[in-house]
Amino acid sequence: MGNVNIAIVTPCTITFLGLKSLLCDLPSVSAGHIADASSLADGFDLYVVDAALCLSHIDFFLPRRSKTLVISAEPLSESSFAFVCTKWDVERIGECLIDFVDAQRSAAAPQSELSQREIEVLTLVASGKINKEIADALQISINTVLTHRKNISAKLGIKSVSGLSVYAMMNGYLLRS
């Protein structure tokens, strides 16, 4: 994935402008506004969508949940969607958006090497941390952790935690015991 084209689906222009200013700080990212969800269509790489609109157009977003980030007032801990919480500070929202775009870029380029964030996740997985602990340590959602783990396994061909630990030791990401 070269340039990442993101649809910000929200009726709120201020929300769109805020997210756009954060997203367009990232390299090779462009963002468009969809205020009326009835005009939703394919053609975007990623969707950042208002929670209510996501719910009312669940038939569209559910099959695209790996490409969707939900804007929510509260953390969506039980949801299968990645989310960004409007109560978070700017720095954390920015981190979340970076992770979301980074995870999707990695998924679209499975042959490339691990990204810096994936190495951080790998190191935490290899040291025995569970998904919740990794999410807390890196200040990202559990869904984003799962996306990173999926991408790491796809790139390395290694799925088990102990296999990932061996790989981390082989490559100096983790001290050999």
């Binding site: 390395l156 290694i158 799925k159 088990s160 102990s162 296999g163 061996v166 790989y167 050999r176």
Partner: protein, 193 residues
């Protein structure tokens, strides 16, 4: 290939040599002659329906006839017991023997091989704790299959440093054979419920 009762058994072995490890659990060794599956099973008192299902499930990962195992439950349970015994007596020592030789022959420093050998040690313990320890109640051991897949990836994708190429290939082939066998074991277990 799809094996039927009228398939010549030697054709199966030539097309899929790894099947030799499965045949030995039915008491069939090399020098099998020119006979069909039906004939060989009749001669040796083997249930040919079960035998064909085992061979097909081993050769084809997506074989749809695994319900035959549930229909031959006592035979399947007995086969699984012999399989567990075969792992501890032949397949695991085979990997171990080649792995040890590979590490001993390795004059250059390659601690990745040591790490991978330790990882195989973990897989071995898992097999001992699941496949070889369950007795009359065999259960699938998907974690073992996954870890063997990881080990294969480590050899194929991530191996670095200096090593004896021939021995390394021998270890890899032994691990691939073990993984394929564990996959058969898991599918038979799953179909027994």
């Amino acid at each position: 290939m799809i094996v039927t009762k009228d398939t010549k058994l030697h054709d199966v072995v030539i097309a899929e040599p790894a099947v030799i490890a499965v045949l030995s659990r039915f008491g069939i060794t090399l020098g099998i002659g020119d006979n069909t599956v039906r004939h060989i099973c009749l001669e040796r008192g083997i249930n040919d329906t079960f035998f064909v299902a085992v061979l097909n499930a081993f050769i084809n990962r997506d074989y749809a006839g695994c319900d035959a195992f549930a229909a031959c439950k006592p035979l399947a349970a007995d086969f699984l017991k012999r399989t567990a015994d075969y792992y501890s007596r032949f397949l695991i020592p085979n990997v171990e023997q080649h792995f040890n030789l590979l590490i001993r022959r390795n004059t250059a420093v390659n601690s990745n091989l040591e790490l991978m050998h330790n990882f195989f040690g973990e897989v071995k313990s898992d097999i001992a704790a699941t496949v070889c320890a369950v007795g009359d109640r065999p259960t699938p051991c998907c974690a073992v299959e996954e870890k063997l897949g990881d080990l294969i990836s480590m050899f194929v994708i991530h191996l670095s440093g200096n090593y004896d190429v021939n021995l390394c290939q021998a270890v890899l082939f032994a691990i691939i054979g073990l993984k394929k066998d564990i996959s058969l074991y898991n599918r038979i277990c799953s179909s027994l419920g």
